[in-house]
């Protein structure tokens, strides 16, 4: 299916901005700018998803990647004193060689696969074609199967996340580290005014 008219115009707009901002992510000097460009890239990718009728994926991309992941990145970049500039120095020096390797690989893939991707004779081996978004929305279609036919995969995904959580705790939590301030709610609630406030009569001109 070739895009025409307004659809094509929007596709090229979003695709161009996505690629341009992706380039800016790795070339911007200021790491905060890099993260902001990353958000722009995600945003355009989400727009591309919506353009193809996958509104659920587009929205998830917005909520998860922009709402959580990118903001987390921004916090990390702003709060940690990492000298990204020196880490990235020289990274672009490898760009010519990287680009060359990329072009060689891409052209090899194109030579082998090109005829099949571009050729019109490719048999349509689509197991279940996407329903018309106007008849059945993407979100509803996903909702039909994710807890029924795909419950097995859904549960394994849950277990993978559980392992990730346990792993993060095992590798980083040190309950016995000295000097860690912990919240003790019992103590907080049991505090009285006389324990925490001391009223001192200060004589004029003397100070404490």
């Amino acid at each position: 299916m070739l895009l025409t008219g307004l659809g094509a115009a929007f596709f090229y707009l979003f695709a161009f901005v996505a690629i341009a901002s992706a380039v800016m992510v790795i070339s911007a000097r200021n790491p905060v700018h890099s993260v902001l460009y990353l958000i722009l890239t995600f945003f355009n990718a989400a727009a591309l998803f919506i353009l193809t009728g996958a509104e659920f994926l587009g929205m998830i991309l917005l909520v998860v990647y922009i709402g959580a992941v990118a903001v987390l990145f921004l916090f990390v970049v702003m709060m940690l004193d990492v000298d990204f500039a020196s880490m990235k120095r020289g990274a672009l020096d490898y760009a010519p060689i990287g680009a060359m390797v990329g072009i060689v690989l891409a052209s090899e893939l194109l030579i082998v696969l090109g005829a099949q991707f571009i050729g019109v004779g490719q048999p349509g081996s689509v197991a279940s074609p996407t329903p018309d978004p106007l008849v059945r929305t993407n979100t509803a279609a996903l909702g039909d199967i994710i807890y029924t036919d795909y419950v097995f995969f859904f549960q394994i995904a849950g277990l993978v996340l559980l392992v990730a959580m346990i792993g993060a705790i095992v590798l980083t939590l040190r309950p016995t580290r000295p000097g860690v301030k912990r919240q003790n709610m019992g103590q907080q609630v049991a505090r009285k005014v006389e324990d925490s406030i001391e009223i001192v009569e200060v004589e004029t001109g003397k100070g404490l």
Binding site: V112, L113, Q116, P123, S125, V126, A127, T148, D149, V151, F152, F153, Q155, I156, A157, L159, V160, L162, V163, A164, I166, G167, I169, V170, L171
Partner: protein, 481 residues
Amino acid sequence: MTVVELTQSLNIAAPELALAVGSMVLLMIGVFAPKDSANSTVTGLAVALLIGVLGWMVFFDEQGTAFGGAFVQDSFAYFFKILTLIGSIVALVMSVGFAREEKFDRFEFPILIILATLGMMLMISATSLLSLYMALELQSLALYVIAAINRDSARSTEAGLKYFVLGALSSGMMLYGISLIYGFTGHVDFASIAAALSGEERSVGLLFGLVFLLTGLAFKISAVPFHMWTPDVYEGAPTPVTAFFAGAPKMAAMAMLVRVVTDAFGSVTGDWQQIIIFISIASMVLGAVAAIGQNNIKRLMAYSSIGHMGYALVGLAAGTVAGVQGVLIYMAIYLVMTLGTFAFILAMRRKDEGNVENISDLAGYAQNSPLQATVLTILMFSLAGIPPLAGFWGKWYVFLAAVEAGLYPLAIIGVVASVIGAFYYLRIIKIMWFDEPEGKFVSTAGELRLVMGLSGIFVVGYIVFGGPIAAYAENAAKALF
């Protein structure tokens, strides 16, 4: 999926369900148990849970497909799941003393082992590329954390990080291959892929996908040329963790590889056969040659396991029932020999230095504890493949299958490689029996003695009770054809 189908599916996947629920219950017990007894409580319960599931699998034979064809419980799955569970149980039991000494006895360790085992069992049963990938990630993620479990040791964290980076790379390649296969066949479940392939001529794009998929799988069984991580991770990870890595995950990854190529790509045998033959030869030769220069016994075992994966793949290269039967027998024997050898490595402990890992530290082992040295000698002979020990019979089945399938060069190279490989096993024997003693090891813990004894009995007695194992393996192999 209707309620009836779901109930049936859950019934078939009951052992996995028990592990998943059990791991979460144990997590809660670990969190709320008193700090000083949490590890021992959870470890004991974890071993009990794994043994319970193992017993269940041995006594209840509930076969069938579940979850809309994404999961299968057949005799092939049973064979490998029993091996995987044995590997996990033995590794967990052997870790108890060591974890306490090295101060990584945290209650999350047995729970992560259970979750990794669950991932492995799902891998063995996976009959769809989607469930295969997700099960693999569940297993891998748990293994990355387990490799770095001794987080205060720089070597352990390095091993974990290295394993994570390379594992993520291989997962990425595999996922790319899976997406190509999906794109060119339109299916993710093995039966539909096989059906789509049998009708028409296979396309080049599918071949690309197959190559990337096999790359990812070869990484998981540490076959050459995707083996680079193995020696470093084996050396850096704490020894009981290495014992775990060398056993159970190899079983699961090999089962997955065998199932993918025979189930989904059975009609394009010629395409994957040449790849398997290449990685098999490369693994056998590198495993034999590169191990010669090693001084650290854990690195040596890493190269040894690379070589053994090569031998097991010889059977798969044959692509016949006899070949797959050979793979099953080989993996069972490999598991027992490896776990036995690691029991000895864990027992290499001096009073003042702690655990030692150099091969030269075994000098004079025969004078100090002659009985244990004899058992280790038998294990080394078996690893080298000297008749009539178990290791010989493993090689016998795979080479016989290769010869029957007409793969003479592969069989000849395999025999030559095993002769070269015999050198370093014999070197260990020479150091144990003929070198001057350097110092005594502390007396061996009871659980290690048990593992040593059982593996010794298995290796020596295989000639007597190998028949039923071979028959069971043949029955399991037939499930795939």
